[in-house]
């Protein structure tokens, strides 16, 4: 198994007919992702790679069983595209666009919570269950070079770091069950702790790796979950951005969300909080496979 997607996940691509949609969908299809149809308003009846395109998500789900939707809409149209998918009953939505306004991101998060849907993103390069399926640009045109199938679940606040984490695991002789780039926005569609819960429940994940940054309460919620004794798998955390503590609060050097708003948002505070809660804190990429091998039962 894996979480959220596997070789059987049937995927709808919203915005399939656009440049990004065509390119990304090609790589996904080549990887084995079961994209079964697309939606682009006004392009209903067309075909892309032999896949039917519909005008609306409702029309598409009337014709096909859809498990997930990947959204290639531009930032200002992403909210409506996500709400359309939620209204049509789609339970997993991967929204890739960067620069989606924050008011839009909080509305889609609220709508997803009410509907029991999971949004990966916005501002993400997607998710991958190596050897089975991927949504979004994660892994690029040659995911096998980076993502090896295995039993480590990864959740990263940075899309680029998803690849580096997978490479570090690969170099250490380990592989990935599912890797989620949760998105670099201040208010992601799904909080980090939900993914940790999913990995904890997944029989094919033995260890969980998170990549954290300054700002937001993502890591606090994970620490809370560990403290509550709910997590029965080792959790390894790599956090970056400690240097930002040398500069005034409110100054951001990376992702929009990676901005320190108060002392508890800092990387050192988060490291301590996670360590106190029982997490293993890695100081470098190379540490991660070493720690996993130490802590997993032989």
């Amino acid at each position: 198994m894996s979480i959220l997607i596997d070789e059987n996940t049937r995927v709808l691509a919203q915005g399939l007919t656009g440049t990004q949609g065509r390119r990304d969908a090609r790589f996904c299809l080549d990887y084995g992702t079961k994209i079964i149809c697309g939606v682009t308003p006004g392009k209903g009846g067309e075909e892309v790679y032999g896949l039917p395109v519909y005008n609306t998500v409702a029309e598409a789900v009337a014709q096909h069983e859809v498990d997930a939707s990947v959204i290639y809409a531009p930032p200002m149209r992403t909210k409506d595209a996500i709400l359309e998918a939620i209204d049509a009953g789609v339970k997993l939505i991967c929204a890739l666009a960067e620069f989606v306004p924050r008011h839009d991101t909080v509305i889609v998060r609220a709508a997803a919570e009410k509907a029991g849907a999971t949004i990966v993103g916005c501002n993400t390069n997607g998710l991958i269950s190596p050897g089975k399926s991927k949504l979004g640009a994660i892994g690029g045109d040659d995911p096998d070079e980076v993502f090896v199938p295995g039993r480590v679940g990864v959740c990263s606040r940075s899309g680029g770091m998803s690849a580096e984490l997978a490479l570090a695991l690969k170099r250490g002789g380990l592989g990935v069950s599912t890797s989620i780039s949760m998105g670099g926005d201040v208010t992601p569609g799904t909080p980090m702790v939900r993914y940790v819960e999913m990995f904890n429940a997944d029989p094919d994940t033995d260890a969980i790796v998170i990549f954290g940054e300054p700002g937001t309460t993502a890591e606090h919620e994970v620490a809370e979950f560990l403290r509550a004794g709910e997590c029965n798998k080792p959790l390894i955390a790599l956090l970056a951005g400690e240097f930002q503590e040398n500069y005034p609060e409110g100054v951001s050097f990376g992702h929009v969300a990676a901005m320190i708003q108060s002392k508890s948002d800092t990387v050192s505070a988060k490291r301590k909080m996670l360590e106190d809660a029982g997490a293993h804190v890695a100081r470098s990429l190379g540490d991660i496979p070493k720690i996993i091998k130490e802590v997993l039962p032989k």
Binding site: V106, G139, R171, F243, V256
Partner: protein
């Protein structure tokens, strides 16, 4: 977050039919005097800078005559307050305040938050410290927003009487609508004043706008430089050039912030940049700058501007170009503009070492191109980000000790 100055925040509220005092920006003491005269001879003079806590800094003064207004404006214009140059003042009519309250909306995490207090006119942090019960916090449902009924309940909990609640509940609901329509991520109304007749007035108003929402607000987008670095200590010339290129050239974005070390960083993405910066400090190296890149069409041009700024920084002794695995964007798209600038400026990579760690699509092409430039070190595919940082720090230490012994 893009902070609106008070004149713009109040203009937004006024056009949303919300009760703001009359006010105008003035760029000269004479101008401040004329406006005060228009307002009946009395006014409040405030330094027009995009930040709060001006009162404590002496940047808010009451003027009971046009002459006093002129004096106050003359005292403020040209000074620096909280790191901002005061170029203009805001001249506002004096408001009769019988009672004052605090209200704010923020989205710095999920869900959005509302804070309200019956103690207006003082910092909310101070109110919270002295009397935590005086601050009511409410989680906003983004879909329902802040309805009149919800607002009435909040103000009742703050201890307001029925007449006050009757005024503030609809006002609060309208303010939230203005907050949403502005794509604001912060709106602080401190104080909301009620006069002796119970009529409301938004005396203090600050707004911060979501940069991602600026595409819906063209008049603001024009002068939002989008960086708090500017607020922190102002841009130097080399940083200004990058900020200017970001505005001028469409697509993608690069941020460039100089720091006090000597190893220049051209790093990314967001996460890998932070990680490498941390690791460099841990390895005893000190970055000459930080960069952050959002790839997109036009990024090559911006890349060149950043490389030029890096090469112009007299503190920089070497350069690390290191990104996380590129996945979709091509490595050679980064190397080509880099080499172009190096050739143009005839940079000697023996005395100004350049270390590249770029893996992913187009890596072989990028390696081949870089190998044509003498002295560039292009690390092999199996080099990790850790290795790249270590190599950069070792290289820097080597050239510094060679320089010392020469």
């Amino acid at each position: 977050m893009y902070s609106l100055t008070e004149d713009r925040a109040k203009e937004w509220l006024a056009t949303s039919s919300l009760p703001t005092p009359r006010g105008k920006a003035a760029a000269s003491p004479q101008n401040a005097s004329t406006i005060t005269d228009e307002f009946g001879g009395k006014a409040v003079i405030k330094a027009l800078i995009p930040t709060g806590r001006r009162g404590k800094a002496g940047a808010v003064r009451l003027a009971d005559s046009p002459a006093e207004a002129e004096k106050a404006a003359a005292d403020m214009i040209g000074t620096e307050v909280h790191g901002f140059q005061v170029e203009r003042v805001y001249v506002e009519e004096q408001v009769d305040i019988a009672d004052e309250f605090y209200l704010s909306f923020t989205i710095d995490c999920y869900p959005p938050k509302l804070l309200a207090s019956r103690e207006g006119g003082v910092d909310i942090e101070e109110t919270h410290r002295n009397n935590p019960d005086a601050v009511i916090a409410h989680d906003i449902d983004p879909i329902d927003g802040v309805t009149e009924a919800v607002a009435a309940e909040i103000w009742r909990r703050c201890g307001l009487d029925a007449d006050q609640v009757k005024v503030l509940a609809p006002l609060t609901a309208n303010l939230y609508r203005a907050f949403v329509a502005a794509d604001a991520v912060m709106m602080e109304l401190n104080p909301i004043a009620l006069d002796a007749d119970g009529a409301p007035s938004l005396v203090g108003a600050m707004m911060g706008i979501d940069e991602n929402g600026l595409a819906r607000h063209e008049d603001w987008a024009d002068d939002a430089d989008g960086s708090l670095i500017a607020a922190w200590r102002g841009f130097n010339e080399r940083e200004k050039r990058v900020a200017e290129a970001n505005r001028r050239i469409k697509g993608g974005a690069i941020r460039y912030t100089e720091l006090d070390g000597d190893i220049a960083l051209l790093v990314g993405g967001g996460g890998a940049g932070l990680l490498q910066h941390d690791m460099m400090l841990a390895a005893g190296g000190r970055p000459a700058n930080h960069t952050d890149t959002n790839p997109g069409a036009g990024i090559e041009e911006k890349f060149k501007v950043v490389v030029n700024s890096i090469l112009d920084n007299p503190q920089a002794k070497c350069l690390l170009v290191s990104f996380n695995h590129q996945q979709l964007t091509r490595c050679d798209r980064k190397v080509i503009p880099l080499l172009e600038v190096l050739r143009e400026r005839k940079v000697d990579a023996a005395t100004f070492p350049i270390i590249i760690r770029l893996v992913g699509p187009g890596e072989e092409e990028a390696q081949a191109l870089a190998s044509e430039y003498p002295g560039i070190v292009y690390l092999p595919f199996d080099a990790s980000l850790d290795d790249a940082v270590k190599t950069a720090v070792e290289t820097r230490n080597r050239i510094v000790s060679e320089g010392a012994s020469a």
